[in-house]
Symmetry: C2
Subunit: 135 residues, 2 copies
Amino acid sequence: AQLALERDYEAQRELDTRYRVLMEMTRDPVMLVSMSSGRITDLNPAAAVLLGGARPELIGTAVAQEFDGRRRGEFLEALANIATVDAATPVEVTARRSQRRVLVTPKLFRAAGERILLCLIDPAERASLASDELG
Amino acid sequence: AQLALERDYEAQRELDTRYRVLMEMTRDPVMLVSMSSGRITDLNPAAAVLLGGARPELIGTAVAQEFDGRRRGEFLEALANIATVDAATPVEVTARRSQRRVLVTPKLFRAAGERILLCLIDPAERASLASDELG
């Protein structure tokens, strides 16, 4: 039983390391939000730059506080609604600290009984450029 | 003890889900390679597109087989050497299936006693465009 526990611990540490390295390395700005608390539980360096704050500062803050352009109570609900649709339309908002227009594309997932939103954040300018190219 | 085990299991499942959703959603092409086996242990849809194969096909194949332009035995070692440097220079190679020139930027990490390379893959064209803009 001791060995099994150690194996579990190792497996967990491996997943944890993989997750952390992946978050660090991806250049796509990514943010995780807990649906129950409405708070940012994690974000990568790329997302922190877009939002205009340091990572330790941003982790734990209420996500609705970090964006303007939506009534606070509505923001989380709006994201959750979009997240359930397959081809999600991003929400366009202003990041409060950096004052940059951004597009937030959420995806809802369940883990250990908790509902978590994984949000991709894009600068609004770059995205409209891409749609110009397409259209 | 039963409860503790269940908690561990839940925590592990949560990390696993988080990792999987993150891999699915990131548009940066990412590939994981085991240093001990030299095989691709995981890659995201974006990386599969660049390499020109289906994900289930690519997972488990020897990474050196998927790229031309380097002697097979050397490739993994070259990546591992680069990965230990802080400001890693990417390796330029050709993806065998898609015949696209790509830049592979590896980062070495240790998890549960195993050495794993997390590789970002970029199309060589886009990268040279970016350096033109900078320079």
